[in-house]
């Protein structure tokens, strides 16, 4: 894109946002700042879940529509453990491990046998998501499960300027999201397995031709991607709540995040998560009955001008 167009789009998008921000700050600065924080903490959760989705898609071209079900699975597993033992960190670990194992089982027992058939793989994930969602409904019923945060993150953090108080747990999500993003970046850019994954994203055929066990790389990636969904589930069990239907919501969020951010790109997932999280919470705060329209408009605009997503590379 030439310098002129970059400036042009910067102005077209930036000026209305700046005008809105000034107006909102002038009328009710507390509402604006709280909404912004809510948006960023929601974005943190979206990023954790969508990063797994985009990782799996980028390497295997597998659109894992059961990603939301893995999120729900991790959340319920963490809920059960935290209810019995009261250790929140153990719940996070079991959420990650349980979903990772489920993802590993899916890759090893099904998807390994249909390489390259991405449509069929996607249909299998649809079937799996129906089955997993129904089994979870069978076990846990339709009522709302709410996990309470650990004591050291419970309650609000008081004495903040302007907004007075804000939930400690939600605030803790910001550094957590950043930490996971940095860890993922280090893993992908500084380790051997990460290097193999990046090589696989660029050219699967070449990777396997150079003697790498691609199936192993695929299995590791699928486990990490699914595990991130499960980890997000335990966080979501506190921040939102666990109820049938949340899986669909998280799936939509993951889809929009990776479509907007660019498929297969972790940085794109972060960008998409921030855009979606902030847009969704501002929509809910300032135009409650049309908030999903903002999500839709963002989706349409990105598809219209950058069909591969903001940071997407042509396949």
């Amino acid at each position: 894109m030439s310098k002129f167009w970059r400036w042009f789009w910067g102005l077209v998008i930036g000026v209305p946002i700046a005008v809105f921000s000034v107006w909102a700050l002038a009328t009710n600065e507390r509402l604006f700042l709280v909404t912004l924080l809510n948006g960023l903490t929601l974005a943190s959760l979206y990023f954790i879940v969508a990063a797994g989705f985009t990782l799996v898609f980028g390497l295997m071209r597998n659109v894992n529509l059961a990603h939301g079900s893995l999120y729900l699975l991790g959340g319920y597993l963490g809920y059960v453990l935290a209810e019995h033992t009261g250790w929140y960190l153990a719940a996070v670990a079991i959420g990650f491990a349980g979903a990772a194992l489920a993802g590993l089982a899916m890759q090893v027992s099904i998807f390994r046998f249909m390489p390259g058939e991405d449509l069929r793989q996607t249909m299998v994930t649809i079937g799996l998501s129906i089955v997993i969602a129904d089994i979870l409904l069978w076990i846990f019923g339709g009522q709302v499960h709410q996990l309470s945060p650990p004591d050291w993150l419970n309650g609000p953090w008081r004495g903040l300027p302007v907004i007075n108080a804000y939930s400690k747990f939600r605030l803790a999500l910001l550094p957590l999201g950043i930490a996971i993003g940095v860890l993922l970046w280090l893993f992908l850019n500084r380790t051997r397995v990460g290097m193999l994954i990046r090589a696989g994203v660029d050219d699967r055929g070449m990777l396997s031709a150079s003697g790498v066990n691609v199936n192993l790389v695929f299995a590791i990636t699928f486990a990490i991607g699914a595990g991130l969904a499960g980890l997000g589930g335990v966080i979501g069990a506190v921040e939102l709540s666990m109820v049938p239907g949340e899986d669909v919501r998280m799936l939509l969020a993951s889809l929009v995040v990776v479509i907007v951010g660019g498929m297969g790109s972790v940085v794109g997932a972060a960008l998409g998560a921030i855009i979606l999280g902030v847009a969704e919470t501002f929509g809910l705060a300032y135009a409650p009955t049309y908030s999903v329209v903002f999500t839709f408009v963002i989706l349409v605009l990105v598809l219209a001008f950058r069909p591969r997503g903001i940071l997407g590379q042509p396949a």
Partner: protein
């Protein structure tokens, strides 16, 4: 997905050989033969009918016509009517996916848009919102709006191709669902619209089982023959060419994007008619109709039946509706999703061509080499 992968997913070598109808299309693809064939057909109508209409067509046609006179009202309406309506909506997906290579999950959304339009412009229990216009105007507007929306969805999703289509259409469908839940001023939120009833036309109450069955049957047959006709027109042939190799068709001078969007528009028209019928069948339209399970049910029906022939979605719909109504007796009612999900998984894993693929494979095995030779001679005679 690329064309080659699509074929791999929906097709295996053995079935492609054992599939007579695919062979019938092939001769017409030669550009020169099309006008000749048309002229020949105009002269020899009886021969044309004799060639195309076999005993099983007549039997099936008689069976669906006589069906409401032998079945109870429950079977006529709940099983027959619902299968036809769901089959019609799934037919739009079969057309898009089977002939255009684009698996859209938003077909139920298009149907739902038509349903919402019927409720908003027509009559419902929400008198504050519904405008109460006459039914013929309402149906026209609803179908037009839904077709325009389908074209827009198509325009959006053909900007990328392959597996991205399924993601984008799913995201669009879910976004519409959340809009219907959220919005109370126009779409009446979670409750949706109740008592959206079929009209009484010329003394015939379209709400009662038998007239509704025939109404649904008429439109199902219309959709079926429309798709069968369309895939043999130059447009349909070009669409199948694009499905198989978009780059080559582009090199031949076909506008790939325009053909794809047109396919979305046609599929949208079919889904819109199905959506109006679905709304009349249910007597209501709510967010539940366009929820994710609704979107996926259409895919399940289309895949269950098989996407290689327009009869597939109707077969799939019959199986789906029978399961939905009678799985209660065998399993727990609450576990319907588990049953249908497991069945869908089994079909996708073991018979990607659906029930039609199973049937073709079964027949090939029963008749063995005999069937193979008969098909090849039939293909040869048509080529002459």
């Amino acid at each position: 997905m690329s064309a080659a992968q699509w074929r791999k997913a929906m097709n295996s070598g053995a079935q492609a050989q054992a599939w007579p109808r695919q062979r019938r299309i092939a001769p017409a693809a030669g550009a020169g033969s099309v006008p000749e064939a048309a002229g020949e057909n105009a002269v020899a109508w009886p021969q044309w009918i004799g060639q195309r209409v076999s005993a099983r067509h007549v039997i099936v046609m008689l069976a669906v016509l006589v069906y409401p006179w032998v079945a109870t009202p429950f079977f006529t309406f709940q099983i027959g009517g619902q299968s036809l309506v769901l089959g019609l909506i799934a037919l739009s997906l079969t057309f898009l996916a089977g002939y255009g290579g684009m698996v859209s999950l938003a077909q139920m959304t298009v149907a739902g848009i038509a349903g919402y339009a019927v409720a908003i412009f027509g009559t419902s229990s929400m008198a504050e919102i519904s405008l109460g216009w006459p039914w013929w105007l309402v149906v026209g507007i609803a179908v037009a709006i839904a077709t325009v929306c389908a074209t827009f969805i198509g325009w959006l999703s053909v900007r990328t191709e392959g597996i991205y289509t399924i993601m984008i259409t799913l995201a669009i469908g879910m976004a519409f669902y959340y809009l219907t839940v959220q919005n109370y001023s126009v779409l009446n939120g979670w409750q949706g619209f109740q008592r959206v009833l079929a009209p009484t036309v010329a003394g015939l109450d379209l709400r009662s089982p038998v007239p509704f069955y025939y109404l649904a049957l008429f439109w199902a047959l219309a959709g079926y023959f429309f798709v069968k006709y369309l895939v043999r027109t130059p447009f349909g042939i070009a669409l199948q060419g694009i499905r198989d190799n978009a780059r080559r068709m582009n090199a031949l001078g076909f506008n790939v994007t325009a053909h794809r969007i047109a396919a979305y528009a046609v599929a949208g028209l079919i889904a819109a008619v199905g959506g109006v019928l679905m709304t009349w069948y249910n007597g209501l339209v709510t967010p539940g109709s366009v929820g994710v399970s609704g979107l996926i049910n259409i895919l399940i029906i289309a895949v269950l039946g098989g996407m290689r022939h327009p009869i597939g979605p109707f077969l799939g719909a019959i199986v789906f509706v029978l399961l939905q109504n009678f799985a209660i007796d065998v399993f727990d009612r609450e576990r319907f999703n588990l049953v249908i999900g497991a069945m869908f998984l089994a079909i996708v894993l073991f018979s990607p061509d659906g029930l039609l693929g199973l049937w073709v494979r079964l027949r090939a095995r029963l008749e063995g080499a005999d069937a193979q030779s008969r098909i090849s001679t039939r293909g040869a005679s048509r080529r002459l």
